[in-house]
Structure formats: structure tokens, C-alpha cells
């Protein structure tokens, strides 16, 4: 397919350490710096939101003020200064664009550099892209075709206007506004994100995709995504993230909520390549994300796949609440840290319904002076008759200045439930490396090859378009780790 070739070429063109570090120069509509009730009101007003949503935001904001910072993750950073950031930045547009033609050409150029030419993709790739530029969704492609099938795929702000009943019913129903400090902040100030609704019995024919990108200096990105798969529906959703190079740290506190009803399936794939900071740990994104899916219906399935190579700090636990009988949760993860990066990531599988099953495959790779932690919870509730979990966590250390950690919490409260957890730690052996070198590979290619092999099980679960890019990223993010 043409899109694949193009993606491959673009990925191959990756030359520098961080090729996505360019800044787009466009007019920006900024709210004043800092966070207070007025900012929350302003965001809501700018978006012409209904009263109930403003109320919800304000409840979240007031709750947030009282919440302590979460301390349990194995990450270290100076206290966040919430007042030294902008909470609203919208590209200046006189009115909302009706089609791609009306969009600022510079924006489109940015996407072009990112490797997601919207026009091309709309025609060729069969990927519908909801592009988020800083905080406001600028364009949603492929819409007309999806609309015919009754699929709603738009920005969440738009959904608030056009489908308020769906948003009101499901927003905060998986991640309540009081969930944790970062999610609560998001609930108060989220500016945009995607909304997907797949109606009963519909199988979404294309992979839905959003490309997130943080552009503005000192703007946090607080997108909020809500995906609902009605009875018997299926959707695969791709999320890619990049951010330009900045000296300061930027906070990214997103929330993703998934709801799967009876017999529905949601597949959510992420390739996260936020700016990781430089070799000395200056700059880089703080990626504090709450992702959670509820398998509400019988036989429903939610599958998370993530390839995390970017961000200075990753704090993220895509989880599944397995309520419906026979529901299935999956978590496939590759987390790569290099230089001074820190990642504390994993999942939670909460088994509530009967015969629910979950599978966790997590691969952590640490290089440089980085720390990579897998943290996961598997909980078998009293009523989880016949539930099953299998977990495999493997860590790979490259060099002797990094750390790789595994912290599983396994709670089994039903005798008929079965839980199995295995974890190993290894390194790239000198023998493996030498063997590759002797066959003529450069040491970087050799590392990339071996690490890709180590991650194979996870990368395989990615949709084609992503898999190629992800494989390249694995190699790029480890550059300079073997010398």
C-alpha cells in the first residue's frame, strides 16, 4: 500500500536524535498563564459548553486542590509548578474549518513533517485521522464515510455539542473526576481529544487514528478521549504522540476512557514518542496519563498495546475493568528508556465477572542512566469464578548504569480463579552482539535487531502501519546506548 511505503520512507529518513523537534510558527490564542477557577470557566466558555459540564469541571478543580501528588511510582522529579503553565492554547482561526482546504497550510505542513499527510491518508491509507494540535482538534477526516455507518468520530468538544447525551452518560464513568491527581486536573481543564461511538453491530472498517503533538511552549496537553463500542461493535484506534524539543519540562496529563458493551471489542494502540529530554535529562515531557477501559458487557474485549519510547517521565497504567462475564482484557507493552528517562508503567486487570480472562505481556528495556519499572495489579474479586490471568514481564538491561524493576501486585480472592505471573531480567549478551557484528551488522543495528526480537510478541499486536514505525523507533531510541 502506498501509505505504508510512504510511512516507511519517512521513518527511514529519520536522521537526527530526535527528528520531530521542529516548531511550527503560527498564531496562537492563549489564555493567561496559571490555573484558577476563572481559567476553568474560560475554557468551558470558549468551548460553549453546557452548564453540567462546567459544573463537573469545577467539582474536579476543587477536588484537585485538596489532592496530594501521587508518590508511589518509582520516578523522581522536582515539584510541578502548576501556575507556571498555560492551560489553553488554540490555533487562531476565524471560524471552524469545514474541510482540510480551510486549514492553515502551515499546520498541514507540520503534519506532513510528522509523516501523516492528512490528504494523502484520507484518500490512500484508509486511516481516519483526528489530529490534535496542542489542544484543539483541527480536522477530522474520513468523516463522511464513517457517518454513513452511524459511526461518530469527532473531537470531544464537537461531541459535547452534537451528542451531549452520549458524552454526559459516559464521560467520567470509567475514570471518575476524583480518580487521581493528574486525571482530576485533566477533568478540570481538558481542552480536546477524540470521541468515538460505534453503534450496535457495526465493525469499524478503518483504523481510527489521532496524532497528538505538543507545540506551544509551556502548554500542557490535557486531551481527553472517550470511546464507546456498543453491543457487538468493533473498533481499532491508533494514537501517536510527538512533541518538539524544549528546554523546559512540559506536563501531559491525558485521560482515555473506553467502554465496551456486550460482545464489543476495542483495540487501542499507542506509539508514544514525546520528546524525552536531552542526554543530561534537560527538558522532555512528563507523560502522566490515565487510561482505563471498562468491559461492561458479556464477552466484551479491550486490548491495549503501547510502545513507549519517548517522554522524560512516563507514568501510565492502561487498565481493564472486567465486569461482564467472559470479558477479556489484554495489555501488550514495550517501554524503552535511555539517557535519563524514567518510566513507571504497567496495567491493572480487575476481574469482577465470571470466566473473565486477562493477558499481560510487558517488555521493559533500559539503557543509559535510565530507570524502567513495570508496575501491575491483577485482582481477582470474590465473584470472579473461573477467571484466568497470565502475566509475563521481561526486562532487558543495556549497560550497567541503568535500572530495571518489576513490581507486580497479585491479589486472588476466588479459589477457582487462576493467576500466573512470570518475570525475568536479562541483558544483551556479548555473544549475541559479537555474532551480529561478525555477520557485518553495525553495533546499533545489532542492538536494534536484538531488542526488536525481544519485543516481537508485543510489536506483532500493532496494526501494520504502526508496526513498521515502532520497529524503527525501537532502534532510534536506543542510539548511543552501546558504544
Amino acid at each position: 500500500m502506498a501509505a505504508d511505503t510512504q510511512t516507511i520512507e519517512q521513518v527511514q529518513a529519520l536522521g537526527d536524535q530526535y527528528k520531530y523537534g521542529f516548531v511550527t510558527d503560527i498564531d496562537v490564542d492563549l489564555a493567561p498563564k496559571g490555573l484558577n477557577e476563572n481559567i476553568v470557566r474560560l475554557i468551558s466558555e470558549k468551548k460553549q459548553e453546557p452548564a453540567w459540564l462546567l459544573e463537573w469541571r469545577l467539582r474536579a478543580y476543587r477536588h484537585w486542590l485538596k489532592m496530594p501528588e501521587p508518590k508511589w511510582a518509582k520516578v523522581e522529579f522536582p515539584p510541578l509548578d502548576y501556575q507556571d503553565a498555560y492551560y489553553y492554547a488554540a490555533p487562531k482561526l476565524t471560524e471552524a474549518p469545514k474541510s482540510l482546504d480551510e486549514i492553515d497550510p502551515k499546520l498541514l505542513e507540520t503534519y506532513e513533517k510528522l509523516g501523516i499527510p492528512l490528504k494523502e491518508q484520507e484518500v490512500l491509507a484508509g486511516v481516519a485521522v483526528d489530529a490534535v494540535f496542542d489542544s484543539v482538534s483541527v480536522a477530522t477526516t474520513y468523516k463522511a464515510k464513517l457517518e454513513q455507518m452511524g459511526i461518530i468520530f469527532c473531537s470531544i468538544s464537537e461531541a459535547v455539542q452534537t451528542h451531549p447525551e452520549l458524552v454526559r452518560k459516559y464521560l467520567g464513568s470509567v475514570v471518575p473526576y476524583s480518580d487521581n491527581k493528574h486525571a482530576t486536573l485533566n477533568s478540570a481543564v481538558f481542552t480536546d481529544g477524540s470521541f468515538v461511538y460505534i453503534p450496535e453491530g457495526v465493525r469499524c472498517p478503518v483504523e481510527l487514528s489521532t496524532y497528538f503533538r505538543i507545540n506551544q511552549e509551556n502548554t500542557g496537553q490535557f486531551e481527553r478521549t472517550l470511546i464507546i463500542a456498543d453491543r457487538g461493535a468493533y473498533v481499532s484506534y491508533l494514537e501517536g504522540c510527538t512533541a518538539p524539543m524544549r528546554d523546559e519540562h512540559q506536563l501531559h496529563a491525558a485521560v482515555v476512557e473506553l467502554v465496551a458493551l456486550d460482545d464489543a471489542e476495542i483495540k487501542y494502540s499507542t506509539v508514544q514518542n514525546w520528546y524525552p529530554g536531552d542526554e543530561e535529562g534537560r527538558g522532555g515531557i512528563y507523560n502522566f496519563v490515565t487510561k482505563r477501559g471498562a468491559c461492561r458487557g458479556r464477552n466484551s474485549k479491550i486490548s491495549w498495546t503501547q510502545v513507549e519510547t519517548g517522554s522524560a517521565i512516563t507514568w501510565k497504567y492502561p487498565s481493564c475493568i472486567l465486569q461482564g462475564d467472559n470479558s477479556v482484557g489484554e495489555f501488550y507493552s514495550v517501554a524503552i528508556t535511555n539517557n535519563r528517562q524514567q518510566a513507571d508503567t504497567g496495567t491493572k486487570m480487575i476481574h469482577i465477572g465470571k470466566n473473565t480472562t486477562s493477558r499481560i505481556i510487558a517488555k521493559g528495556i533500559a539503557a543509559g542512566r535510565s530507570d524502567s519499572t513495570y508496575r501491575g495489579l491483577v485482582r481477582m474479586q470474590r465473584g470472579a469464578q473461573g477467571a484466568r490471568n497470565y502475566t509475563q514481564c521481561d526486562s532487558l538491561l543495556i549497560g550497567d548504569k541503568c535500572g530495571a524493576h518489576t513490581v507486580p501486585y497479585i491479589e486472588c480472592g476466588n479459589p477457582t480463579a487462576q493467576v500466573e505471573h512470570e518475570a525475568t531480567t536479562s541483558r544483551i549478551s556479548d555473544d549475541q552482539l559479537f555474532y551480529c557484528l561478525q555477520r557485518g551488522l553495525s553495533s546499533e543495528d545489532a542492538v536494534s535487531l536484538i531488542v526488536n526480537g525481544f519485543c516481537r510478541e508485543v510489536l506483532q499486536t500493532l496494526p501494520m502501519e504502526f508496526a513498521v514505525e515502532a520497529q524503527k523507533l525501537v532502534g532510534i531510541s536506543l542510539e548511543g546506548s552501546v558504544g
Binding site: 469464578q385 526486562s395 550497567d400 513490581v407 497479585i410 493467576v419 505471573h421 531480567t425
Partner: protein
């Protein structure tokens, strides 16, 4: 408090001990009684007994009922050494076994060399509480190259009601190349609270086989810290059985600070009723080429909860570490729960580290197979549980302790596992 004053009266307490107790007391006051908000205690609620600091009335302990697990026996009652109940025969003068208070009187410098060196106070409220009450206990020292072949049976008896607290302290020193076999046995009667600390200092090439039996009275509460330090090429082979108490928590903290040391720790816990039994281990590999192996197996009946928290820490310099840890639990009926947190924290790249954890019920196919051969369901369940625990118990090298443990398992099965304990969905 009255007993402490009595035992201290007439002898001058060495200044370092006064100082140690004061520091411990300060630490304890600062940390406070552990609650489930503390990560280390998230799975176990320790019923608050902070006011119960004094030992219970010294009643007549029933030593006769305690099976012997070795020719030589040293006995503590409510944390106080009782020479009248101890039998120590055939020991060469170089081997020192006796009351800690006695050694503190005659040779305080010797105790100072070792005590509290492994059982460090920071972040450990219960260790601090024990240390702040330090007056007596058992002291064992085996001289260099001596092999104390006969198993040594250390018995700690608790006695008293809810207001009774005892803080038994055991200090074992194995000098270079020495070896010993120790059975540490905790039991008693009443609803007393035990907060035990045992320190095992193994010098170069020393070897210790250690069996810890937590067989406290059903209404008692047991918290213990076993602190181990392994010198170069030292070897530790440990086993923990927990079935006693309403709440039982056994912590093992092993510091592998020298190269080529070898640490093995296995454990079995059997819990029924409202019991909570917790095994918490922390193995710190701080030097190259050391090895650790841990296997814990739990069997839980309705209403009971088992906890396994095992942390393996491999420091930057501990290359060629080989560490493995396994937690397996069988839930016999609904209402039972197990919480496991096996944790790896690794900073060296040339290592082999792994852990595993499983939980589930007895294998239905195996049960049916046994029953299809005419074996009654209750017997079949007993056989499968004994089979599940068997491989681990078989590894115990102290024979009298092994027999005692097998008997404990059997009587626990008789008392707790019948065919009714399996309840269909």
C-alpha cells in the same frame, strides 16, 4: 515495665546499650505503629498493641508438650532466658549458648560488636520497638571452624492476655568457617503479642541451617524480623513454617554484602479461619556472584488470607547475581485470599533474576484421577496438599524439624480440610 527494672537492677547498664535503646525508642516514636497506608504493610493489618509493652505474668509454661527438635535446648519465656528450662549438654567451652542478659553483664563488649548491626532501625518500627525493650534473649556464638552438628532448639514461649507483649531477641554469631543448625520455635498460650528479632551474623565461609517455626497460640499475634548478614562464601539454608496466631508476619532481611554467598529460603504457611499470615522477605545482593533462591507455598482455607511480599534488590556492583523467587498459593475454598507482591529492583546488567507467582485451587483433574482410583475425596485433597508442599518440605536438612513440620501439616489438614471445605460454585 516492672520486670525490666528488676532485671536491670543491681547491674550497671553499659552506656552504649542505654544509648541504643534511646535511639530505638525515638525511632519508634517517630515511625509509629505500622498501618496499611505504609506500602510495606499494605496487605496486613497489625492489630494495635502499642500500649501492651510489658510481658505477661510468668505462668507455668507447658514445656512438656513441645516436641524436641534437637539435643540442646535454650528457652525464653516472655522474652526472658530461663536456664531452669534449658538443657545444654555436651558443648565445648568455646561454643557459647545462653541468656543474653547474662552475656551483657559479663561481656558487654562482645554483644556490642554484633547487636543491632544487622537489625537496623530506619523505617522499621517493630524492630525499633523490640530494640527499645532490649534486656534479655538468647546469645549463640560458634567459634571459627567449629561444626555444631547437633541441632540447637531455641524455644520462645509466650504467655498472657491482650495486655501482654514480649520482645524476644536472638543473636547468633557464626565465626569464620563455623557451622550450625538451629530450630527457632515460637509457641505459647493466650492472646499475647510477640515481636521477635533474630540476628544471624555469618562470617566468611560460615554455614547455617535454620528452621523457623511460627506455631504461636491461636489467639496470639506474631511479628518477627529475621536479619541475616552473609560474609564471603557463607551459606544460609532457611525454612519458615507459619500456622500460628491470628495475625502472623515473618520478615526476613538478608544482606549479601560479600561475593560468592549463597542464600536459600523456603517457606510454608497454612491459614484457616480469620487468620492472616504474611511472609515478607528482602534479599539485598550488594556484591558480585551471590546467589539466592526462595520458594514459598501457602494453603488457605475459607476466610483466611495469605500474603507474600518478596523483594530482590540487586545493586550496581552485584554483577553475576543469580536470584530466583517463587510464590505459590492454593485456595481451598471460597472466602480465602492470597496477595502476592514479588518485586525485582535491579541495577546491574549481567544478572540472572526471575520470579514467579501462581494462585489457584487444587487441580480438579488430579483430584478426579485420585478419586477414580477409589481414594475418598478428603484423603485425595490431603494427598494433593501434601504433594504440593512435599517437595519444599523434603529439602529441609534438619531431620527432627522436618518430622515436626510434617506432623504439623498433617494435623492442620486433619483439622481444616475435609470434603466439605470444597464448596461447589
Amino acid at each position: 515495665m516492672s520486670v525490666m527494672e528488676t532485671s536491670a537492677s543491681g547491674t550497671a547498664t553499659p552506656p552504649w546499650l542505654t544509648d541504643l535503646r534511646a535511639r530505638a525508642s525515638e525511632t519508634y516514636e517517630a515511625l509509629g505503629w505500622p498501618t496499611q497506608r505504609v506500602e510495606d504493610w499494605r496487605y496486613t493489618r497489625l492489630p494495635e498493641r502499642k500500649d501492651a509493652r510489658g510481658p505477661g505474668a510468668a505462668g507455668a509454661p507447658e514445656l512438656g508438650a513441645i516436641p524436641a527438635a534437637g539435643a540442646n535446648r535454650a528457652v525464653l519465656v516472655n522474652g526472658r532466658y530461663r536456664p531452669d528450662l534449658s538443657t545444654l549438654v555436651d558443648l565445648p567451652s568455646a561454643v557459647q549458648i545462653g541468656g543474653l542478659a547474662d552475656v551483657l553483664r559479663h561481656d558487654p563488649d562482645l554483644v556490642e560488636l554484633y547487636i543491632g548491626r544487622l537489625a537496623r532501625l530506619p523505617n522499621m518500627p517493630m524492630t525499633a520497638l523490640n530494640t527499645s525493650n532490649l534486656t534479655d534473649g538468647i546469645f549463640v556464638r560458634v567459634p571459627a571452624e567449629y561444626d555444631l552438628e547437633q541441632p540447637l532448639h531455641l524455644v520462645s514461649l509466650g504467655h498472657g492476655d491482650d495486655a501482654a507483649a514480649q520482645h524476644p531477641r536472638i543473636l547468633v554469631v557464626l565465626e569464620e568457617g563455623a557451622s550450625a543448625r538451629i530450630v527457632e520455635h515460637h509457641t505459647g498460650s493466650g492472646s499475647y503479642f510477640t515481636n521477635a528479632i533474630s540476628e544471624f551474623d555469618l562470617a566468611d565461609g560460615a554455614r547455617l541451617e535454620h528452621v523457623k517455626l511460627q506455631l504461636e497460640a491461636p489467639a496470639a499475634t506474631h511479628v518477627a524480623g529475621n536479619y541475616l548478614g552473609l560474609g564471603p562464601e557463607a551459606q544460609y539454608e532457611g525454612f519458615v513454617l507459619q500456622t500460628g496466631g491470628t495475625v502472623g508476619r515473618n520478615e526476613v532481611h538478608a544482606y549479601l554484602g560479600s561475593s560468592e554467598s549463597d542464600f536459600t529460603l523456603n517457606g510454608v504457611y497454612l491459614a484457616a479461619g480469620r487468620q492472616v499470615l504474611d511472609n515478607t522477605t528482602r534479599v539485598q545482593h550488594a556484591a558480585p556472584s551471590s546467589r539466592s533462591r526462595q520458594t514459598f507455598k501457602g494453603v488457605l482455607n475459607a476466610g483466611a488470607r495469605g500474603v507474600f511480599q518478596g523483594k530482590v534488590l540487586v545493586e550496581r556492583d552485584a554483577q553475576q547475581t543469580d536470584a530466583h523467587q517463587l510464590s505459590r498459593a492454593v485456595l481451598l475454598s471460597s472466602g480465602a485470599e492470597v496477595d502476592a507482591k514479588p518485586e525485582l529492583e535491579i541495577y546491574a546488567d549481567d544478572v540472572r533474576c526471575s520470579h514467579g507467582a501462581t494462585a489457584g485451587e487444587l487441580d480438579e483433574a488430579a483430584l478426579f484421577y485420585l478419586e477414580s482410583r477409589g481414594i475418598p475425596p478428603t484423603t485425595a485433597r490431603h494427598m494433593l496438599v501434601e504433594g504440593f508442599l512435599g517437595e519444599t518440605v523434603d529439602e529441609i536438612s534438619i531431620e527432627p524439624a522436618k518430622d515436626l513440620i510434617r506432623a504439623e501439616i498433617r494435623s492442620w489438614l486433619e483439622a481444616n480440610v475435609d470434603k466439605k471445605s470444597r464448596d461447589p460454585a
